[in-house]
């Protein structure tokens, strides 16, 4: 019995996926369609049930049902528009669809208009990337240079819309979409896929306008009309910037959102939760349950494996992540998505030969994928050729301007080249596009630190720290920054926090020594001594691994004890100083000599 009911639900999922894949390929949301189809193929195969005649019947029924209420004339129009769309003649497609009243056709019209706009702006941006220095120009909608004064800016904005015919841009499209939605106030479910598509488009436009909260509302609305739209879930995810927002959203989805099928059992929600966990981490128990369920249902779904690998990567478990990626490459060799992360892992693990192989392999598959370019760039970076690396990153960005990791990594390369300003520009771009990218924030902080602009770098470290509050490095950087600005109390707080999070004894010596120093600065000698002692203790426990800090700590303790006239202890500390600068060693010897004299 249990087996049966499970099969029924599996069949339901399968048919939903099948339908969505068909719908979206029909309405030109190729990524959603692809995702659904991949999921479908990746499902566990149960021969008896899949091949049952009911499926065929369902297909036929769907075909009839999903005529999307098109009249014959509209259907003809659709055929024309669809083929124009496939030929990438977006303007023409929109032109022929103007005045269409069917929601789906309306979507296609506005969507192709949007794509046309996107294509044109992308062309404009390519020019910038190719001709101008990327660090000097900003890209967002219309291209105007930063160092122009305001009046020029406004003029630029004007001319950029000057292309002759009434040029559509996101705001005009949005306006038309709004008026359409206002005219046709369908009941939620009557709207069906048409409504879902239109709401989805509205969400995209709003998101482009940086109106994240409204965008989320409409994505959710779209999903409640039609939940099997994976790109919509992804867009929804991209609207989130903080983990507390993620929590709220998940809570909302669990409690309020009405989906077509019941929310709890909806497989899409599970996928979404998985993706949220990947981005923000969260309750690991729930995650495990969901993952287990999804894995049993979709054993061969590459996306799932990739998510798993990414989660491991985010938890800095590179070994696991690498092995997972290896599996992915084996089972689905021509899937380039997420492989740039794989190359990051290889880079960090310094497996350069493997990285070279990956670069070669992906270039063979498709040279003009942003992922490929990132991989090649990583390869060159590993070979210490930052210029070439930057070139490839730039190419990746030309192919996809929203590739955040490429911006961040390019920033790293610029740091390598000691070009802080360019690096800052790159990091900026990265955080503009994806405010969740803690590496970019951290990079910004570091770059400003190099420029001695500690006020700025403090703010960026705070940002990074907000995103990764469980990362020792963040707190440490924050603390260093506070101490440079002169806010010692906060610096101490942060160092202590970093110490709590530290899992690595060897790195503790530095923290402890810094803490001690700070306590000395605020004249809290007792605490200072405590930390100095701890610092020395760490060295002892780590068996021979000596660092400069310990030498300094020993010296300090020796000096301190001489002042307190505890010559014996001072002597012990002083003879412990075995390396460090020659001056330090000299001083230690002097103290030791003095102490010996005093003791005798």
């Amino acid at each position: 019995m249990v087996e049966d009911s499970k099969n029924v639900s599996l069949n339901q999922i399968a048919s939903s996926l099948r339908k969505s894949s068909r719908d979206f390929s029909r309405w030109k949301l190729y990524k959603s369609s692809k995702w659904s189809a991949e999921a479908l193929v990746g499902m566990c195969v149960d021969d008896d049930h899949i091949q049952s005649p009911s499926v065929d019947a369902a297909i036929i029924r769907d075909e009839i049902e999903s005529n999307w209420n098109l009249s014959e004339r509209e259907n003809d129009l659709y055929l024309l528009a669809a083929s124009l769309f496939d030929c990438k003649e977006f303007d023409r497609c929109a032109y022929f669809l103007r005045g269409a009243t069917n929601p789906c056709l309306k979507f296609l019209e506005l969507y192709s208009e949007f794509l046309s706009w996107d294509k044109k702006t992308r062309a404009a941006m390519e020019d910038v990337l190719i001709t101008g220095k990327p660090s000097k120009q900003k890209i967002r909608g219309d291209v105007n240079t930063v160092d122009d004064d305001n009046s020029r800016d406004s003029n630029h904005a004007k001319t950029s819309t000057s292309g002759d015919e009434k040029q559509s841009n996101p705001s005009t499209i949005l306006k038309r979409l709004n008026s359409y939605l206002e005219e046709h106030r369908f009941a939620k479910y009557e709207f069906g896929i048409g409504g879902a598509l239109l709401y989805y488009l509205k969400g995209i436009l709003l998101k482009l306008d940086d109106n994240k909260s409204d965008a989320m509302t409409f994505f959710l609305q779209s999903l409640s009309c039609y939940s099997f739209n994976w790109t919509c879930w992804v867009e929804l995810l991209e609207c989130l910037t903080r983990s507390d927002e993620a929590l709220l959203l998940l809570k909302y989805i669990d409690e309020k959102l009405e989906l077509q099928n019941s929310t709890k059992s909806n497989v899409m929600v599970k996928f979404f939760k998985l993706a949220v966990f990947q981005e923000f981490s969260g309750n690991i128990e729930d995650f495990m349950d969901d993952f287990q369920y999804l894995h049993s249902t979709f054993p061969n779904f590459t996306f799932l494996k990739a998510q798993n690998a990414l989660i491991n990567y985010n938890y800095m478990d590179y070994l696991n992540s690498e092995s997972l990626f290896d599996q992915i490459v084996k089972s689905d060799p021509y899937r380039l998505d997420d492989l740039d992360t794989y190359s990051n892992i290889l880079y960090v693990m310094q497996k350069h030969s493997k990285l070279a192989y990956l670069a070669q392999f992906t270039s063979q598959v498709d040279k003009f994928r942003p992922e490929t370019c990132c991989i090649v760039a990583n390869y060159y970076s590993a070979r210490q050729e930052p210029e070439k690396s930057i070139m490839y990153f730039r190419r990746a960005l030309t192919l996809n301007k929203n590739c955040t990791s490429a911006w961040t990594l390019m920033g790293h390369e610029f740091v390598e080249l000691k070009n802080s300003h360019a690096a800052i520009e790159c990091y900026r771009r990265a955080v503009d596009m994806n405010a969740k990218d803690f590496k970019a924030w951290y990079g910004l902080g570091q770059a400003y630190e190099v420029l001695d602009m500690h006020l700025y770098s403090l703010y960026y470290f705070q940002k990074a720290c907000t995103l990764k509050p469980l990362d020792r490095r963040m707190w440490q950087a924050l603390a260093a920054c506070y101490s440079k600005i002169g806010n010692r109390q906060e610096a101490i707080n942060c160092y202590e926090r970093a110490l709590q999070l530290s899992v690595n004894l060897e790195q503790d010596t530095h923290l402890l020594f810094r803490l001690a120093e700070l306590y000395e600065q605020i004249r809290d000698t007792e605490n200072c001594r405590q930390f100095m002692i701890r610092c020395v203790d760490v060295e002892k426990s780590s068996e021979g691994l000596v660092s400069d800090e310990t030498a300094k700590a020993l010296l300090w303790l020796a000096r301190f004890e001489t002042q307190r006239k505890n010559y014996e202890e001072a002597y012990n500390y002083a003879i412990g100083v075995s390396h460090g600068s020659s001056q330090e060693i000299e001083e230690a010897r002097a103290i030791a000599r003095e102490c010996r004299a005093k003791i005798q």
Binding site: K138, T159, T161, S162, H295, D317, V348, L455, N504
Partner: protein
């Protein structure tokens, strides 16, 4: 010359056709004994003759009946004149169905067009019968001649063929004996020749003949006609010479008018004014009788007034010009040129325009049954800032009752309405529909070009400018268009050059003047801008824009008291313009009179409320209002306004900066810093934002990381989740997924990995 020989000042030129004036001594044989008497009766016989002529031929009588029936109609004599034909196609069709036409109907396409093309093509090669006919028509259709003359002067040529068509409207046969050409005297025949030559713009011929006639007869009327020929030919000096001889100009008012026109053409305004007289000599003598007298033509007095206005405006004496034009319209509403001059050259303020039209003295009653239509047509030309309902009503009437929906005037009115409402893209669409029919309609083009500017559509503007430059190199609009193009592509210097070229071609072309001034203001050359604007303000007292711009200039120079003065001037002219209200709001804001500022800005918002909310004006008003709220300390409202602006308009550095400031004020440090960052990323040279950011960051340092700090809050959230994780941290967990025996380890990051990550980050 006796008073009977000269038309009185109250009359139109209808009476002085060369043949009509022949009653002085040389009567036409057929007219003998009939032409005596007053002018009314002078025309009556004509129509009677026509009726009689028609009766002579049975099968034609039906066609002539309309003319006969209109016997006592004020337009009786005009029944077949082009004027009537144009306004009423039915009559035209009837009266044009001439015998000649019937004869040739099988070869023609029939109807009006056929006859036109026939005559147009074969003009001089027509059979002699046609020539005879033309005699008769000349004779009884003096109005046609005269109206054409005035048209020639104003540069709008009546199509020649229309006139000649009319000549065919009477019988082609010689049945009406008194019109037989053979019965005319030799002089009459020469006159006929002269006239036909003039009609067909064969000026050399006309001059040749007219000269002979004048020498033969010495008649002042023939002198006048010779002068007329000279005028048409553009030999103004010769015309003046001729008219000055023999005291012609002092005896005939018509001659004087012509001479004045010649002088105006030669730009000798002072002399022209001497001839026309500095003020209307007849204004006091507006006797009742003269008023009643109408012959359907335009009163010469009105034309004189109009001419006086032209002279004054050429002399930059706009107050007097305005008075003269007004007078011209008041004397005779049919003088459209004067009316047009008043409205299109912005001599009147919107209020004055409406007052003029609504004043009782403006008498549309002489237009009889066309009264309503013409009045409505005039109304829709008035300023769109006032009385929108009335304009709408007139428009509706014209469309519903007179079927003028597709007429260009109606469309032009629509265009202007849309433009004053700043609905540029719709306005553009309307302009394009008009221009489809009439590609270079001078009334629409300036608005069309302005729309291009507003929408930044430089490519179409480029094409249009080139077309105009090819076709109308001497038209101010052409160079206005070129200059606007340069403005759009931001070449201010070039733009200025062409604006000035345009305004040299026509000093009364307001858009060019304003554009010229704008170029200075855009380059920040305040003094030149101010002087250019004030010249414009002097030239165009009817528009508030120069004053508004002057105020804006002074405001940018921080001379607020002067600015206020100019704004008040503009406000007096047009209190409805949202732009003006906005500027006034800004001015009061600058003077720290925040309440007043708020009031004006709110007014501006009301004035613009029906516009779509994304228009630039709307956005800037919102921004200003937000600033006013900010200064008044109403931070919440200010933030709301700014947020709204951000939603509808694009990203703007200053708005983000202001929002950052407001968040700082409301102690939302994180948001403040974020917004200031965005401001700086949009424009890195924003010094205010830089300073504010620095301030905010300093505050950020001093804020303690207590439990309210977002950083700590976030950390706690993460920790709450990670507790489970960290409890397992020391003992890596391995779990089996049911389907595959794949292991997923959530293990601790090992030492080496941590290091590597750090490397990557640095």
């Amino acid at each position: 010359m006796s008073s009977t020989g000269t038309p009185t000042q109250h009359n139109s030129t209808l009476a002085i056709s060369p043949f009509v004036s022949g009653r002085n001594g040389r009567y036409n044989a057929s007219q003998a004994g009939r032409a005596e008497g007053d002018r009314e009766r002078d025309r009556d016989p004509n129509t009677q003759q026509l009726a009689a002529g028609g009766n002579g031929e049975d099968f034609r009588s039906q066609e002539w009946n309309p003319a006969g029936l209109e016997h006592n109609h004020p337009y009786g004599s005009l029944a077949n004149s082009p004027l009537v034909q144009k306004t009423n196609p039915n009559i035209a069709a009837n009266s044009l169905a001439t015998p000649h036409h019937h004869v040739t109907a099988n070869t023609n396409h029939g109807g009006l067009i056929g006859s036109i093309s026939k005559n147009g093509l074969f003009g001089s090669a027509m059979p002699s019968t046609l020539r005879k006919v033309s005699l008769q028509r000349e004779y009884r259709d003096p109005l046609n001649t005269k109206t054409r003359e005035t048209h020639i002067e104003s540069g709008i040529h009546e199509p020649m063929s229309t006139t000649t068509t009319l000549t065919t409207t009477t019988t082609a046969t010689t049945s009406t004996a008194e019109f037989d050409i053979s019965e005319l005297s030799s002089i009459e025949k020469l006159r006929l020749w002269r006239h036909d030559a003039l009609m067909q713009h064969l000026y050399k011929t006309a001059e040749f003949v007219a000269n002979k006639i004048y020498t033969l007869t010495g008649d002042p009327n023939d002198a006048f006609w010779l002068a007329q020929v000279y005028f048409s030919d553009g030999s103004y000096v010769r015309a003046i010479d001729l008219l000055s001889r023999d005291m012609l100009d002092s005896t005939s008012i018509m001659c004087r008018y012509l001479k004045a026109r010649c002088l105006v053409k030669l730009q000798k305004y002072d002399e022209a004014l001497d001839i026309v007289g500095e003020c209307n000599p007849f204004s006091s003598a507006s006797d009742e009788e003269a008023k009643k007298e109408t012959d359907g033509g335009i009163k010469l007095e009105s034309s004189l007034c109009y001419l006086r206005g032209i002279i004054y405006s050429a002399q930059n004496n706009f107050a007097k010009a305005k008075e003269s034009f007004k007078e011209a319209v008041l004397v005779d509403v049919k003088n459209f040129e004067a009316f047009e001059e008043l409205t299109s050259k912005n001599l009147l303020t919107p209020r004055e325009e409406w007052d003029l039209l609504e004043s009782l003295t403006l008498d549309f009653s002489i237009l009889d049954d066309n009264q309503d239509m013409v009045k409505n047509l005039y109304i829709i030309r008035l300023s769109k800032y006032l009385n929108e309902d009335k304009t709408c009503e007139s428009r509706k009437q014209l469309i519903e009752e007179h079927n003028l929906a597709s007429n260009v005037d109606i469309l032009v009115s629509d265009v202007e309405t849309l433009y004053t409402k700043c609905k540029f893209s719709e306005c553009l669409n309307f302009c394009e529909t008009i221009l489809e029919k009439d590609k270079f309609n001078a009334e629409v083009l300036p608005t069309y070009i302005a729309c291009f500017y507003e929408l930044g559509m430089r490519n179409k503007l480029f094409l249009l400018s080139h077309e105009l430059a090819e076709n109308f190199p001497k038209n101010p609009i052409t160079w206005f268009s070129v200059a606007t193009y340069y403005m759009v592509v931001n070449k201010i210097g070039e733009a200025r050059k062409y604006f000035s070229k345009s305004s040299i071609l026509d000093p009364n072309f307001a858009p060019s003047w304003l554009g010229f001034a704008h170029t200075y203001s855009m380059e920040g050359e305040q003094d030149q801008a101010v002087s250019a604007y004030s010249t414009a303000a002097r030239f165009f007292p009817g528009i508030h824009l120069p004053n508004l711009f002057l105020g804006m200039q002074y405001m940018s120079m921080n001379t607020l008291s002067l600015a206020e003065e100019y704004f008040t001037l503009a406000y007096d002219i047009c209190p409805q313009d949202p732009l003006l209200l906005n500027e006034m709001g800004v001015m009061f804001f600058k003077r720290n009179e925040l309440q007043k500022s708020k009031r004006y800005l709110k007014k501006a918002l009301e004035a613009i409320i029906e516009l779509d909310s994304t228009s630039r004006t709307f956005v800037s008003i919102q921004i200003n209002l937000a600033h006013a709220y900010r200064k008044m300390g109403d931070y919440e409202r200010a933030i709301k306004c700014f947020k709204f602006v951000l939603e509808v308009s694009g990203k703007d550095s200053d708005i983000y900066c202001s929002l950052g400031f407001l968040y700082l004020k409301t102690k939302q440090l994180q948001k403040a810093i974020d917004h200031l960052h965005t401001a700086l990323s949009l424009s890195s040279t924003n010094h205010v934002a830089q300073e504010l950011l620095l301030h905010a960051l300093e505050l950020n340092v001093s804020i303690t990381l207590d439990s309210d700090h977002p950083l700590v809050v976030n950390a706690q959230i993460h920790e709450a989740h990670a507790n489970i994780y960290s409890s397992r941290k020391r003992a890596p967990l391995i779990f089996d997924s049911s389907a595959l025996n794949k292991k997923m380890k959530t293990s601790v990051s090992s030492q080496t990995n941590g290091e590597c990550e750090e490397m990557e980050i640095e």
